[in-house]
């Protein structure tokens, strides 16, 4: 069965050609991190002729800030003998810019099973990591804006379960976000009284339909009554246009 499933062994020369033709960067290093062989695609890392990567270390192509940490990590991996995880590293390339590579690695072991080096396949992940970083930054920025708002902001999903509340809400209701997360909004923010020119009651279902504004008395977590202005609006998914929740903004009115 094993013979059927496993690929037939390649002749050394055939293997060399096969690896050399790989559309992905492939190289091997010895225990000290010196490159012992590299295929054609890996030479995109540096603008020199095929074969000249051999004898160098990958850290020579890394930005100064990554060199030391990456080298230390490599030596520690070789010493421990643990199978390495996938990592992301930046390399200076022949295009004259640093690009981020996702490195898939495995240890080369000597006949006694001791780590003798490493095989590395690198996949260019520059665009995806950049997009991920930008999305993360945008999300962080939005979270910071929400957290900085002086008004209390409460976001619930379309079922009415509280998903987010900002520090101003925590302060107003005298509770932590963790206490209210996952609670029904009526339970988390109980309104004793509500009035507005348009409607006599504020229901969550109504909040999903259209914006509303009014004044209310609510109970904080210590059962104290707070007089507030309440604004609600449906949260609409910008891609599909569907309502995915409701946002409630509370502003304290001085007694």
């Amino acid at each position: 069965m094993d013979q059927v499933l496993s690929a037939p062994p390649l002749a050394e020369s055939a293997k060399q050609t096969w690896i050399d033709d790989l559309p992905l960067a492939y190289f091997e290093m010895d225990a000290m991190g010196v490159i012992t062989c590299a295929n054609r695609a890996s030479h995109a890392l540096h603008a020199i002729e095929h074969g000249s990567l051999v004898g160098k270390t990958p850290w020579e192509f890394m930005p100064a800030g990554e060199k030391e940490r990456s080298c230390a990590d490599y030596l520690s991996l070789i010493a421990s003998g643990d199978e390495p995880l996938v990592v992301y590293r930046s390399f200076y390339t022949s295009a004259g810019q640093f690009r981020v590579y996702q490195l898939h690695r495995s240890l080369i072991r000597d006949p006694q099973g001791r780590p003798a080096g490493m095989r590395v396949v690198g996949i260019d992940a520059t665009e995806s990591t950049r997009e991920l970083e930008e999305a993360h930054q945008a999300s962080q920025w939005q979270a910071s804006v929400l957290a900085s708002l002086p008004e209390a902001v409460i976001v619930s999903d379309a079922l009415g379960l509280i998903h987010y509340l900002n520090p101003a809400t925590e302060e107003m209701l005298d509770c932590s976000a963790a206490e209210l997360a996952g609670k029904m909004i009526e339970e988390g923010v109980p309104l004793l009284f509500y009035s507005s020119p348009e409607q006599s009651e504020l229901s969550f279902r109504r909040a999903l339909q259209s914006s509303s504004r009014g004044s209310a008395i609510l109970l904080d977590r210590q059962s104290r009554q707070l007089r507030v202005d309440v604004s609600t609006a449906p949260v609409i998914d910008q891609n599909c246009g569907f309502v995915i929740g409701a946002v409630t903004i509370l502003r304290r009115i001085s007694d």
Binding site: D157, M184, F193, F204, L208, F242
Partner: protein
Amino acid sequence: MNLRQMASLVADKPPDKIASEALPAERCLTLLAEGVALNVPEIDEAAHKQLRASVGQLALQIPDRASTDEKLIQIRTILHEFEVYRQGVENALRQRQAAWRALADKLLRELLTRIGIEVVAPEASSLLIKIPALVSAEDLAAYQQELNRFLHPVGADGRVNDIAAPLKVADRSTANHNAAGLLGGGSAVEYLKSVMERGGNGFIAIIRLGCLDIISQRFGLEAVQDCLMAVASFLIHSLHSDDAIFHWSDSSLMAILQGRVSESIINAELQRIVSHNRDITVKIEGRTIMLRIPLTFDLTPTELLRDANDLYKLSANPEPNQSKW
């Protein structure tokens, strides 16, 4: 008949077909009518407002030394307590309404079976949804007792009289609350019987939808049905064409997957389906609302079932070896 087959039939079955049939099971119909007649008035919005106004007036008439603000606060506290009380009453009513609906569903299915109409006819379900019945707990219990006496009459010798109990011979699923969903509980059993008779092996997947109680409370039962249908439709398009999908209960669907051997592949397939299908859209007052619903599934090989009726045990007692997402 499963959902896939039903989809093609829905269009050409007139909704008034049930009413136009002769009704030989008069007793069954009488019970159904009695159930509808057991209505109690629901707490309506006008009565609620009137009560709020009276409470407010009463509180304002208190000639004490309290300031107007303090009085207002007292009134609002009273109103808050009343809201809590009203919510409790409404929840109790809702529960009784659900119990009544399951009972009426059972009765109507018995009736339909007797007069030879396909039990899973979708019109039957939509008719039931429109019955606005709220009964007291006592009435409901008495009614249920009478129904049981009717379905399982006992002769003078203490033995069940088959001739006097024509509905007893109807599909067992109609007497099982797990199959009291809108469509196909009994059909699932019948379908599995035929699969097992043919010696076919496969798997039973029960897909459960969470948060349906919240959806029912917020948006009504039609939204719950929309959610079930959305998941069913996704299953129909995602599973193999010879897999059969059924409504199993008020909050679950059943898929009978035939001719599959690898549990791990089906597991992965179902995991993909439940992860893709958590966002379900429903139309509420003209707005499309996207609800994120937790979905779970249980998977059981049909070999573990002694016969098709064991299906009922699956939903009641999930086996430890069942896969859980």
